[in-house]
């Protein structure tokens, strides 16, 4: 075996010399975005250090490099979907029905900015923002409307909500109860990761440590009461949209995940109860092999971390599951139909990387809320990938590729470097508050942006092969336009709700919530009680702000 490898290495050197590889100006060195030098070809010699059973193993078994489940998507496709949310709960419900008919096995929801910030639609600060980038959710009434005539509880509900996730889940639980579905039977997941939000979109609402407490309240509650609900998706996509590298994405969310794990353990939750509840929501760039390797590496790091650092004993604690979406930052304005192609390639990377859920973007999403037609094409793309291409016939088909195994190892090292750097900067919470994480991400993207502007990094039809267009690409697409009339009617409904509900009940719920927020109790029961009384997101947030205070995003400009 050793002789064989030596022979291969000798032959490789001969081949490189004969073909002048890496020595002539015609053959410059090639690197990945992480600065890894990539050879012209990989051989068994490049992975001779790999111990198959220790480092790769079998799917569904430690270290889970090949996947969290033994058969992955061989008999049942991964959960593909599209994110929906616009105008009003009523309008969103119509689109959900359309997607349900088109075979979407989940209800994915994206919220508008007032909802993310805890402002009711009738708040003056919300003017012009209601229903613009997602659905407004103000009270349990809105969850009921969104699920009207749809099988709530049968398919999972995914919420793209950060700091106020606990309140949204309280409303989901309250809406479920009204339909006779117990919280223990409610399936789904929610982002609930204010930490990655603090490093990106800053919809953190309360100061980081209080937002973090609320997030942990939901995680702890779900560990005990909601066996089918995943209460934390560490949000790589947020920082990917903010421009980070794939190693930063994986490394920063892992550092964040450890904060949540540590806090849950401190609260007395067992590692084998909390770890299976944690998933991630990543973004996938068009760099197919790097992405597939990122997912393989991430699973291995997670498994080792859970086992070696935290002493997890169960497979479900060590087997990492994730959602991922084609990274919106890598979709382009120019000839937007080409985004269908880009997203398909990213979708393939997700399939090869072993994703459990893949919300797919609309090709028009760079301009507006995706139209019904674009969402139909997005769902269809995923259905083709999952059910037409045969890529699911065997698990982890890239496993064993000399290049991919080498790359998986290299990316694993890069991710660990990021985690160690966060540790050196005081751990994730400190590194977020000091602005270290945000600065690192922006510095990386500044480099990428410079490469795009100079044309050194090719973006087809943006900086190369540009076809002279006479029209703005938006004029060729039937883009979503906001339904202002529906929004106006909706705001009136909210005002009516506030007039007609039992307001003294709302008030006493909010008083109890405020009292509880001052102590250390888990706030979920108080939030559920408030939601059942039709207290609004804005009112609950305001009550919490009295104790928690408000988040102020640091204005960081990197050098």
């Amino acid at each position: 075996m050793a002789d064989e490898l030596e022979k291969i290495k000798t032959e490789e050197r001969r081949w490189e010399e004969e073909n002048k590889i890496g020595v002539s100006p015609k053959s410059p060195k090639v690197h990945t975005d992480l600065g890894l030098e990539v050879k012209a070809v990989y051989t068994p010699a490049d992975i001779q250090h790999v111990d198959y059973l220790r480092n790769i193993g079998f799917p569904g078994e430690y270290p889970f490099t090949r996947g969290p489940y033994p058969e992955m998507s061989r008999h049942k496709p991964w959960r593909y979907s599209v994110f929906t949310g616009f105008d009003t709960p009523e309008e969103t419900n119509k689109r959900w029905k359309f997607l349900y008919e088109a075979g979407q096995p989940a209800f994915n929801i994206v919220y508008d900015l007032p909802s993310h910030m805890g402002l009711d639609p009738d708040d003056p600060m919300a003017e012009g923002e209601v229903g613009r980038v997602g659905i407004p959710i103000c009270s349990v009434d809105d969850i009921e409307t969104a699920f009207k005539d749809l099988p709530m509880g049968k398919y999972p509900f995914y919420g793209n909500m950060e700091t106020l996730a606990a309140i949204i889940v309280a409303m989901y639980i309250a809406a479920g109860k009204k339909r006779g579905i117990a919280e223990a039977d409610l399936p789904g997941s929610i982002s609930n990761d204010p930490l990655s939000t603090a490093a990106s979109k800053s919809t953190v609402v309360f100061p980081v440590k209080n937002s973090f407490r609320l997030a942990c309240d939901l995680i702890e509650y779900a560990c005990k009461n909601m066996p089918h609900f995943y209460p934390l998706q560490v949000k790589g996509v947020n920082i990917s949209e903010g421009g980070c590298s794939i190693a930063q994405e994986a490394g920063f969310v892992l550092a964040n995940a450890c904060c949540y794990v540590d806090e849950c353990l401190r609260r007395g939750v067992n590692i084998d109860d909390v770890a299976p509840k944690i998933t991630a929501f990543f973004a996938t760039t068009p760099h197919l092999f790097e992405e597939a390797s990122k997912y393989r590496a991430f699973r291995r790091i997670w498994a080792r971390l859970m086992k070696e650092k935290y002493g997890a004993k169960t497979n479900s604690a060590m087997a990492f599951k994730f959602t991922t979406i084609a990274c919106p930052l890598w979709l382009q304005f120019e000839e937007p139909e080409l985004n269908l192609v880009r997203a398909t390639i990213m979708g393939l990377a997700q399939a090869l990387g072993g994703a459990q859920a893949t919300p797919h973007p609309g090709h028009d999403e760079v301009f507006a809320i995706p139209s019904e037609r674009s969402q139909n094409l997005a769902l269809g793309t995923q259905q083709i990938l999952a059910e037409e291409t045969n890529v699911t016939k065997t698990v982890d088909p890239l496993g064993g590729s000399y290049y991919v195994e080498w790359l998986t190892d290299q990316i694993e090292k890069k991710i660990i470097e990021v985690i160690n750097a966060v540790e050196a900067h005081g751990g994730a919470l400190t590194a977020l508050e000091s602005g270290y994480i945000k600065r690192e991400i922006i510095n990386y993207y500044t480099k990428i942006n410079r490469e795009i502007e100079s044309g050194e990094r090719v973006i087809v039809r943006r900086n190369k092969y540009r076809v002279k267009e006479e029209k703005d690409p938006r004029e060729m697409l039937a883009l979503h336009t906001p339904n202002e009339e529906a929004v106006r009617r909706y705001i009136e409904q909210v005002k009516k709700l506030k007039r007609e509900r039992n307001n003294s009940r709302v008030e006493s719920c909010l008083i109890r919530l405020k009292e509880a927020a001052k102590g250390k109790e888990n706030l979920m029961p108080y939030l559920i009680e408030s939601a059942e009384a039709y207290a609004t997101l804005g009112e609950i947030t305001k009550a919490l702000k009295e104790t928690f205070g408000e988040f102020k995003a640091p204005a960081i400009i990197p050098i």
Binding site: L113, P114, H116, M117, L119, M125, A126, E127, G128, E129, R132, V133, S200, K201, S202, T203, E241, G242, G243, F333, E334, V366, F367, A368, I442, Y445, T446, N449, E453, R462, D472, R474, E475, L479, P482, K552, A553, P554, A555, I557, P558
Partner: protein, 139 residues
């Protein structure tokens, strides 16, 4: 007469937290020798206009990724009219994914330039240099 350094306020009005565009522009303007003040996220129109007056800037650039650009810019323009002394004029630029159909409306309320993520930094720099009000450039 030595050329005065152009001073720019980059502001993020409203609830949107997408900051990458603003930061790229800030770096670009600084590299071009301008002085840039950044408000940070989630600023109200009142806060933005107050900062512009206090910092005595020549240019106000707002970065808006959400759909609220018209509502926010109308408020900002109204406040400028009300609160800024008559002889002071700001150059107003807006950046974001603004649909072309809405650009005339923004221009009508007094916005001087509209840019997107496809605008080159050098074009934004040139626009500012070409259009910055003369009262700002004379010492």
């Amino acid at each position: 007469m030595p050329e005065k350094i152009i001073k720019v306020l980059i502001a993020k009005p409203g609830l949107d937290g997408h900051e990458l565009g603003a930061i790229i522009v800030i770096k670009g303007l600084r590299d071009a020798g301008m002085e840039v003040v950044y408000t940070g996220l989630h600023q109200t129109p009142e806060q933005i206009v107050a900062s512009a007056i206090q910092e005595d800037v020549d240019v106000i650039g707002t970065s808006i990724y959400s759909g609220a650009y018209l509502v926010l810019m109308k408020k900002i323009m109204k406040l400028i009219k009300e609160r800024v002394p008559g002889n002071k004029r700001f150059l107003i630029i807006v950046g974001g994914p603004i649909p072309p159909a809405d650009i005339p409306e923004l221009k009508k309320i007094g916005v001087d330039g509209v840019f997107s993520s496809r605008s080159k930094i050098e074009d934004i720099v040139k626009f500012i240099k070409d259009h910055v009000p003369s009262n700002a450039l004379s010492l």
